[in-house]
Symmetry: C3
Subunit: 341 residues, 3 copies
Amino acid sequence: MKFSELIDILHPQSHSLNNFPDCDPDITGVASIEEATKTTVSYIEGGKFASMVNQTQASGLILPLDEALQNAASNRGIAWIATSQPRLMFAKAIALFYQPFQPLPGIHPTAIIDPSATIGENIYLGSNVVISAGVKLGNGVMVHPNVVIYPQVTIGHGTVLHANCTIHERSIIGNNCVIHSGAVIGAEGFGFVPTADGWYKMQQSGYVVLEDGVEVGCNSTVDRPAVGETRIGKNTKLDNLVHIAHSCQVGQNCAMAAQVGLAGGVKIGNRVILAGQVGVANQAKIGDGAVASAQSGIHNDVKAGEVVSGSPAIANKLYLKVSAIYKRLPEIYKAFKKLGN
Amino acid sequence: MKFSELIDILHPQSHSLNNFPDCDPDITGVASIEEATKTTVSYIEGGKFASMVNQTQASGLILPLDEALQNAASNRGIAWIATSQPRLMFAKAIALFYQPFQPLPGIHPTAIIDPSATIGENIYLGSNVVISAGVKLGNGVMVHPNVVIYPQVTIGHGTVLHANCTIHERSIIGNNCVIHSGAVIGAEGFGFVPTADGWYKMQQSGYVVLEDGVEVGCNSTVDRPAVGETRIGKNTKLDNLVHIAHSCQVGQNCAMAAQVGLAGGVKIGNRVILAGQVGVANQAKIGDGAVASAQSGIHNDVKAGEVVSGSPAIANKLYLKVSAIYKRLPEIYKAFKKLGN
Amino acid sequence: MKFSELIDILHPQSHSLNNFPDCDPDITGVASIEEATKTTVSYIEGGKFASMVNQTQASGLILPLDEALQNAASNRGIAWIATSQPRLMFAKAIALFYQPFQPLPGIHPTAIIDPSATIGENIYLGSNVVISAGVKLGNGVMVHPNVVIYPQVTIGHGTVLHANCTIHERSIIGNNCVIHSGAVIGAEGFGFVPTADGWYKMQQSGYVVLEDGVEVGCNSTVDRPAVGETRIGKNTKLDNLVHIAHSCQVGQNCAMAAQVGLAGGVKIGNRVILAGQVGVANQAKIGDGAVASAQSGIHNDVKAGEVVSGSPAIANKLYLKVSAIYKRLPEIYKAFKKLGN
């Protein structure tokens, strides 16, 4: 299709600027700016990628609202459109050209389904999946091969469970969730009480709730609590190898990058972003819209909207100053010694 | 049952105080303090949860030895008992009311068992489990669906292997262990020797030993060594996503929280506690009863009983001071500049 | 065999020194220095293990080029050879005595193979493996039980996939790779674009390439990107629980220890070593031969050959100074207060 046709499909209302129809090439796909070819469209997020406009082979570009970039593209005869959200428009372009793999509905003969399980319409159950007693699967659920679902689990419409993941007893998973390969939902929380005779195991009688639209990354784990529930709110997204301990309450539209770990009973508001390898200590509370930089160690409560960094985590602005000075400790120490210390 | 009956069953010898029979409601279950209802019993660990006594709907409470809390409960007409270990008594209360899911003994027809394997009595082998040559399973072992056991593995009586976990060749797992979903025991240690031609792979001819009562969390990994054994001592508990490298020797009754990683050859005593995301470097030794705070990075030996924090880890008391001052580095730096530096 | 025969087989050209035939015991196996017996050979890497020479039961030792150690061994009547790479020679000794478990070629009747898949010669497909449409497996491939391979995956000759791992659509895995148990290759990258309505999911239309000789540890994850490829170079080795995000480009002969995490679009040169729990931020570049200490947090580019430590990562030499002074912050602060601050 023509670049202009592509843009019309994507977001006719949002583009503020463009240089077609003067320049309106045929587009057959999408690519990164480095790997783009004559018939692909690519995108750039901001001015720091400016040099790439001068090197790319792309014939169409989605640009930010940056006149210098637009002029550079025009000068090279590249069709472009400018928008305040180039990455979002590029994501929509990918969705137009890419047909993701989806198995057809059907139940593989090797799937093992307990007679007391309830199964919706148009579902896919792959090879060797195990559906235990009392499980309820909504319409359009896709369960990839070798997934194991323990008893009394409920899964909403349109949810996808990728290969080799495990869903433990009593978990409640909403509509349109994605559980990626190897993830484990609803296993026993780590509950051991110290006694003079060693650890006394606290039974984990609770369960996990994943609300609609939650994604859990590969090999991530979400544990159930001793009593009550562990809950992940609507549309919250967890990356790979994330650990959510028993009794955590996570709000809506949060994102946690890979290898984040929440200890027991953590409470997280809505739209919170935790970057990679962040750790949050027992019972800490994090307010709506807060952000933690990679490897932060959060021991105390974080207020709504706060940005924190470091371990122990402090306000990001202070952290940036402290980090800069940190490297100068040898100079400071020398001065300290000179003072007769 | 009556609250007083419940307490009699739980621990008649240990309760020092109570306000029944004046107040002795019917109890049908357990709940957290926030979610408790009129017929549930809950617990409180210490004075900082005092406000919850004034809000909870629980009709029975397990309290610490704290008169203010006891008075608050009495004033609201809540039956209570006071003990030095409220969490332990609550754990025992859960065990009274909660019937955990346990499959009945039996061998699913899809389980694949090598003819040379030896299998005890009253065992459960779920769907699609794979038991390789020379494997020995004790009495009462439960192997959940899609578990794979490589050759020559020995597993003691009463041990439970959850779904999708993998036990590698020659591993020796004791009695009453629990291996949670997705965990991998006894895979090859990460042994590569640098040479001018790249990495030379060191064969990992050793094996892993898990002593009686060990638990390994979901998606955790315990590697086997080049020679000899990797050993986890009796009743030691590992949370999810923990990594134990080749040749580590871990003592008894330790606990490691999620995402802890031990590098090769680490030696850990008894009753050691490592909080979440702690890392321990090659060959480091940690003495009995030592504790490391979350995200500690332990490069050197830690003495018995020591509490360490930070990365690199230092004594916790010093760490607390240092962390407090850390935030004031900008002020210190300003003073340093004023001095003409 | 005699110790001298063993050494002849291992590396006749490299040994600079030895004390046989004066002392030439029979050797039946290999062991660690602590666990060695009268008929086993062991090794020592350097002088800090000197005391072990005086305690070991080994009758043969592979020593470094260190005369004191050689004399100590001679004095105790232990046969020894000295080489500049004792660990490498010991690794070769293990390979001589150890016969690793390898299943025989063959296809288990429970393996499920799509008719459109192409399968090489002498391959092993274990129980319950799932080979989807369009998959190509080279000669000598070994797929252990319960592995799931999504459609259109290509796997080269001699590659081994351990139990319960998952290979996602379109992944390209080279020759002689090892994917350890529970690892997930080629799952969707964590791509969500923030909008006023919440997260917009960016389809991940790309794929993962693992070049020849790559090893991926247990429960590690390598994600595919939105467009283009995520690539791990020839002979690079990843330990357990490592996360490689979408679009990363990793060079040849690198090693990443357990729990390392790379965020999206990281570019890593050849022979880079990342120790345990290192995190690397989005788009950071690391040059050839660079090294990062355990728990480093790399936010900015690292030059070729640089050694970095700490979070945020700084030059290792500076880090060592800073860390030493860090502990003295309380003293420095006291002096700062004395100055009237």
